[in-house]
């Protein structure tokens, strides 16, 4: 119940905030502060000390109680200052597969002449990630956000918090950035890689294509050639890197086709395709990807892999 209330309160407090594209400087209007559980316990301790002082008419007891109260008040001011004028700048996040944690990085800049200790970023109820920000310097915090669905993952509202110096009070602020992380489908599925075909428009499923096996001689290595094609033995003889060449000009093409998986619902299909992309890339093949309304022509390498995975991640609709 309190959880619900708290969420509604948060939503109400931050109703005016829009996701920022730029670094956010925490100003006094967006910093909140409340006692922690420890802070409430400390208040009880102060009350106890106060009663003790009254009961024993102990003048220095009063002074001690008031000193601790004033220090607690001072710590409130310090907690607030620890966040005030802090600048938070969102960094990028490398794409991840569904089920992994997206790693969002943030840079905290401290314009002040003194260091700031124990500043944390927190995503929802995950444990806060603390860091120290040196004077007029910056620090980086990486937040792990679980990627539960493919597509673009937005971390949403983050909490910037600190309990510095005494842990009696927590000062915090909410920030939200216009940023996202690409989430690929989870590579999953039991099917073997489809077979590559010559001249492939990919219509004849299951036909044999043997062209890539017809060896025709060597040519010199050029950047971008798959290491699997390098003729290592020949290279050792000639002192140059040579690549095996094949007579077959219309090379067999490996098409990872949406239609190959006709019977299954959308997500498992995407997962299977994702697995194929990784496998094909791993085996050094050239591969293409066909999705309804999108075709990525065969190639290999990191760029191809990214293009394919991105297409899978952002795939919308498609009825087979």
């Amino acid at each position: 119940m309190f959880r619900g209330l708290r969420q509604r309160f948060e939503a109400w407090v931050t109703r005016g905030q829009r996701p920022a594209r730029q670094p956010v400087r925490l100003d006094r209007r967006r910093i909140y502060i409340l006692p922690t559980r420890q802070g409430y316990a400390f208040a009880l301790l102060l009350l106890l000390l106060f009663l003790w002082s009254i009961n024993y008419s102990n003048s220095m007891g009063f002074a001690f109680t008031f000193l601790l109260s004033a220090v607690a008040l001072n710590s409130m001011w310090r907690a607030h200052n620890n966040l005030l004028d802090l600048v938070i700048q969102p960094g990028g996040a490398e794409p991840v597969f569904t089920g992994q944690d997206a790693q969002f990085s943030y840079r905290l800049d401290n314009p002040d002449t003194g260091p700031r200790h124990g500043v944390a970023l927190q995503w929802r109820d995950r444990s806060p990630r603390y860091t120290d920000v040196p004077a007029q310097g910056s620090a980086t915090v990486v937040l792990a956000v679980p990627a539960e669905h493919r597509g673009r993952l937005r971390p949403g509202r983050l909490r910037v918090l600190t309990r510095f110096p005494l842990g009696l009070l927590q000062a915090w602020s909410w920030v939200e950035f216009e940023q996202d992380c690409l989430v690929y489908p989870q590579p999953r599925g039991g099917r073997p890689l489809p077979v590559a075909m010559a001249g492939g428009t990919g219509s004849g499923v299951g036909e044999q294509g043997a062209g890539s096996e017809d060896y025709a001689g060597f040519r010199p290595y050029a950047p971008g050639d798959s290491p699997r094609r390098i003729a290592w033995r020949a290279a050792a003889r000639t002192d140059r890197l040579l690549v095996k060449q094949f007579t077959d000009q219309a090379r067999p093409e490996l098409w990872l086709d949406w239609r190959l998986l006709g019977a299954e619902p959308i997500e498992p299909r995407l997962e299977q395709l994702c697995q194929w992309v990784l496998k094909a890339e791993g085996e050094g093949c050239e591969y293409g990807l066909r999705l309804p309304g999108r075709e990525i022509s065969p190639a290999s390498g990191e760029i191809q892999r990214r293009r394919c995975l991105e297409a899978l991640a952002l795939f919308v609709g498609g009825d087979g």
Binding site: Q22, P23, Q38, A41, F42, L45, L48, L49, L51, W52, S53, I54, N55, Y56, S57, N58, S59, M60, G61, F62, A63, F64, F66, L67, L68, S69, A70, V71, L73, N74, S75, W77, R78, V87, Q89, D109, P115, H117, G118, A120, R124, D125, R126, S127, Y130, D132, R163, F164, P165, L166, G167
Partner: protein, 669 residues
């Protein structure tokens, strides 16, 4: 669905549970240091085994922390806790009360130390540490102790910062410096609270019996030996500051308990109800105005010169001119007094006459016989008084701190056999003789004299100034003070005890007034220190509910009640807060070079009638200026662009800041 819901809940619980934060090594070391500092002053009153236990455990825990060893098993801890508790119970025969409570707290802290691992344990220890600091104040509030505990609190605050793992970035003495800064900045607020927080007179509930154990002072009965024991102490009883001329020594009789009842050996008080108006008498001559700063005595009576003519708050006066407060004095208590050294009191009531002539049914036949003789021979009571004083003066009576023991008929024994006594012997024998001679008389105990501290301009009255004298009722004069000791040793009243007593070597150092010999400089040093202590007492420790009212009323607001005090406190705190905010605001404004340059730029344009409207952003504004003053367009636009980058863009570079400053500096309208 139910399954997934449950699973969800479990996950949620896992996520919500705060992670355990093991304490870092440096946090533990700071914490140990703070606790040892807080507990150390107790070593003097704790049983030795407990002090040793605490030191051992602290050392052991430190060793574990430094060497990364594992904590002792739980059963050992439990055993230790049980043994320590049993030890306290055996030693004090209780677990309650001040001393046993402190012992238990020290034992608990030791046990907790051995299981301390994570943040939560650290918090508990820090809180225990603050309680230990407080408990020290119950034993002493003197300047050295307060300074020491102040240092302990600094270390404790440093430890409190460091037990939080995220704050471990504070290294070396940085935590201590932070604590110092915090305390320094907290002091103004503390002072406001100390002065203005409405004080409530305590206690709120019953205190343990041993709450104020070990306080020396006058008791409410007198036997041979009570006063002569007391004068062996040079503890300060109270200090007095005279607003008017200082009365001479023979008028400096500080009136304490008045004793009426005699059982042959012991003098005791008669319960008199205090009235809330001063007991009337006829004053002759000028009044003496002074203030008394009374040390805690755990007794209700307040001391005043003969005869007091006004009442401090919450105090009443008995018919025998004794001041009684509603609560025992357990704090340093300051009150304003007025007395008339020359006076006549009124008629004797029947009850007073009865009590003033009371004697034990039997005993001391020789003294009674002597008094009966005086009664027959002399008609005027004054002559009988004179006869008794002459007896002391002319016979071989000695004034000594170590009188011989007295037998069953104590008065006879003293008057006719030993003839060596201290003031209580003389007062007791004198009043006995007077009563037997038909003159109403009573014993008054209190203090006589006092040492002037010229540096502080006040008098110190020590326990060694304790005294007992007599009062007799004479027609026409009322109750008149008679000091039989003065008849034996006139120097006692004039120069103090050290000069008068036969065996001054028994007196403590500070009580040897004028007799310090070659160590007199040391006594003078002690007096300087005492002057400091007196100011501390007068201005700080004595600042209780009464002094607070008096002080605040004295500021010219008239009488103040707690509601007004609360308002004053809130207003002062708020004012102070605003002051701090304002100061920070100004500093922020001047510290930020970008804002300063921009403000200068805007001010310059404003002087030419181109003021920036509150709705205008920097770019809108500079565009408007550029449109109306085309000759300035280029530089104005550049300034606006730079400012916008620095203020609203992603982190501007220091070069941009310099650019802006340079351009604004060169800008002329």
């Amino acid at each position: 669905m139910p399954w997934s819901w449950r699973k969800n809940r479990r996950e949620r619980a896992k996520a919500a549970k705060p992670p355990e934060e093991p304490l870092t090594r440096s946090a533990l070391i700071w914490l140990l240091a703070a606790l040892v500092l807080a507990a150390a002053p107790h070593a003097s009153e704790l049983p030795i085994w407990l002090s040793v236990l605490f030191a051992t455990v602290a050392g052991w825990r430190g060793f574990i922390a430094l060497r990364g060893k594992s904590l002792p098993p739980r059963w050992l801890l439990l055993l230790l806790a049980l043994l320590a508790g049993a030890g306290v119970l055996i030693d004090y025969r209780t677990l309650f009360g001040r001393d046993a409570g402190v012992a238990l707290m020290v034992a608990m802290t030791a046990c907790k130390l051995l299981e301390t691992r994570v943040l939560r344990d650290g918090v508990v220890l820090v809180f225990l540490g603050y309680l230990l600091v407080m408990s020290n104040l119950l034993y002493s509030q003197e300047i050295p102790m307060v300074a020491y505990l102040f240092a302990a609190v600094l270390v404790m605050l440093a430890a409190q910062t460091l037990i939080h793992r995220p704050h471990a970035g504070l290294r070396g003495v940085a935590p201590l410096r932070l604590a110092g800064m915090m305390v320094l900045q907290a002091i103004p607020v503390m002072l406001i609270l100390f002065i203005l927080f409405p004080r409530i007179p305590g206690p709120l509930w019953g205190l343990p019996k041993d709450a104020y154990k070990g306080r020396t002072g006058l008791s409410d009965e007198m036997m041979p030996g009570t006063v002569s024991e007391l004068v062996r102490s040079d503890t300060v009883a109270f200090r007095a500051r005279f607003a008017s001329a200082t009365p001479p020594p023979n008028q400096r009789y500080w009136r304490g308990p008045v004793l009426w009842r005699f059982d042959g050996r012991r003098w005791t008080r008669h319960e008199e109800l205090p009235a809330n108006t001063p007991t009337p008498f006829v004053a002759e001559g000028a009044a003496v105005d002074y203030s008394v700063i009374l040390e805690p005595s755990n007794r209700r009576w307040l001391f005043a010169l003969d005869l007091p003519a006004r009442l401090p708050p919450r105090t009443g006066m008995t018919a025998s001119f004794q001041l009684l407060r509603d609560q025992p004095v357990n704090e340093v208590y300051r009150y304003e007094m007025q007395s008339y050294p020359n006076y006549r009191t009124g008629e004797l009531t029947a009850a007073e006459r009865f009590r003033g002539l009371q004697l034990p049914a039997r005993g001391d036949p020789r003294a009674r016989a002597l008094a009966a003789q005086w009664r027959e021979r002399m008609t005027r009571p004054e002559d009988r008084v004179g006869a008794a004083l002459a007896l002391f003066r002319e016979q071989a009576f000695y004034y000594t701190l170590t009188p011989p023991l007295l037998g069953a008929d104590s008065v006879d024994d003293f008057l006719f056999r030993t003839r060596q006594g201290f003031c209580e012997h003389y007062a007791s024998a004198f009043v006995f003789l007077m009563r037997a001679a038909g003159v109403p008389a009573r014993v008054v105990t209190g203090y006589q004299g006092g040492e002037a501290n010229d540096l502080g301009g006040y008098f110190i009255v020590r326990q060694s100034d304790a005294h007992a004298w007599a009062e007799v009722w004479l027609a026409g004069r009322g109750w008149a003070r008679v000091d039989p000791t003065a008849a034996v040793a006139p120097g006692r009243v004039r120069d103090g005890l050290y000069a008068a007593v036969a065996d001054p070597g028994l007196l403590p150092f500070l009580a040897r007034r004028g007799g310090g010999g070659e160590y007199e400089w040391l006594r003078q040093l002690a007096l300087t220190w005492d002057a400091l202590n007196n100011s501390w007492n007068e201005w700080v420790l004595a600042y209780g509910p009464d002094r607070q009212k008096e002080f605040l009323s004295g500021l010219g607001f008239g009488p103040v009640d707690w509601a007004e005090m609360t308002v004053a406190m809130t207003v002062t705190l708020g004012g102070f807060g605003l002051l701090v905010i304002g100061w920070r605001w100004r500093r922020r404004g001047t510290r930020d070079p970008v804002a300063r340059a921009w403000q200068r730029f805007c001010a310059r344009l404003a002087r030419r009638g181109l003021a920036r409207g509150p709705h205008e952003g920097p770019l809108d504004f500079t565009e408007r200026v550029a449109a109306s003053r085309p000759e300035l367009a280029a530089s104005v636009r550049e300034i606006g662009r730079l400012y916008a980058i620095l203020r609203y863009g992603p982190m501007g570079s220091p070069t941009d800041v310099r650019q802006l400053q340079w351009r604004v500096g060169r800008f002329r309208v």
